[in-house]
């Protein structure tokens, strides 16, 4: 909840450079998605294959968005 508030109103301040703000927002989002998967969806105690699938999805989605943004 705090990270959402920080992402929405903190990182969007005009004094922060757009690239820095965007990367920070994407990193925070990736961490939030990872936490939702691990603790809300209980993937932390799931079989390794499912756990890896979840981690892979977060890693691929986040890196894809950041790479296209920076390219």
């Amino acid at each position: 909840m705090l990270s959402t508030a920080a992402s929405a109103w903190g990182f969007s301040l005009p004094v922060i450079a757009p690239v820095v703000s965007t990367i920070a927002v994407m990193v925070v989002s990736a961490i939030k998605v990872g936490l939702v998967m691990a603790f809300f969806m209980e993937l932390r105690s799931a079989p390794l294959a499912w756990q890896l699938t979840g981690t892979l999805w977060v890693a691929v989605a986040a890196s894809m968005v950041v790479t296209i943004y920076l390219y």
Partner: protein
């Protein structure tokens, strides 16, 4: 054959101590659905890369407050679902319908909030035909809203079922599968919110 855990029971633990909540089919659907959205995220970013000025100007027409509040609503709703499942697992089934009802209330609040946001856009003369950014905005948030509506139906069914569950009966797998779907809805919004509202 896989034994289904029941409400209030000690969950069966496989030899390696790891257990997937719900049924595997729901997880396969969840990852397939999330992959479809990931492709849309990539498509959005590629088009944004080609016309950053248009996308940035359009992004500024969105209400950051609506987006952030919607995120908080869905996170709160997911937390209530976690508490409901926890109540069922730990033999407190009387608490489960209360938490499912609270989660459902949050889900309905999201629909109301999103509808108000859409209405504000339409009143300002913005539609999915306005430009590429708003085409993505309406398609991605519209598809997500469809998932929220389905999720609300699932939460309503779980709420109804959990009202009649006893401390020693009921199939926990059904509840876990529904919860997994709802968490996916939350998770997708966590991705959509920064992509549409925050990427500068």
């Amino acid at each position: 054959m896989r034994a289904h855990p029941v409400v209030g029971s000690v969950l069966p633990t496989p030899r390696d101590g790891r257990r997937l909540p719900g049924v595997e089919g729901v997880w396969a659907f969840v990852f397939a659905d999330m992959t479809v959205f990931a492709v849309m995220f990539a498509s959005f970013m590629i088009d944004r890369h080609e016309n950053p000025a248009l996308f940035e100007a359009s992004r500024q027409a969105l209400s950051l407050d609506f987006g952030a509040v919607n995120t908080l609503i869905l996170l709160t709703s997911s937390m209530f679902v976690v508490l409901a499942i926890d109540a069922l697992k730990h033999a407190h089934p009387r608490l489960a319908p209360v938490f499912f009802a609270l989660a459902l209330t949050c889900g309905l609040a999201f629909i109301v909030s999103k509808t108000l946001e859409y209405m504000a856009k339409f009143d300002a003369g913005i539609s999915m035909l306005t430009n590429d950014f708003f085409m993505y905005y309406f398609i991605m948030t519209g598809m997500h809203l469809g998932h929220v509506v389905v999720g609300n139906v699932i939460l309503a069914v779980l709420w109804f079922k959990s009202r009649s569950v006893s401390a020693s009966g009921g199939n926990l797998t059904v509840y876990e599968s529904g919860a997994t779907y709802w968490h996916m809805v939350d998770l997708l919004w966590i991705c959509l919110f920064p992509l549409l509202y925050l990427v500068r």
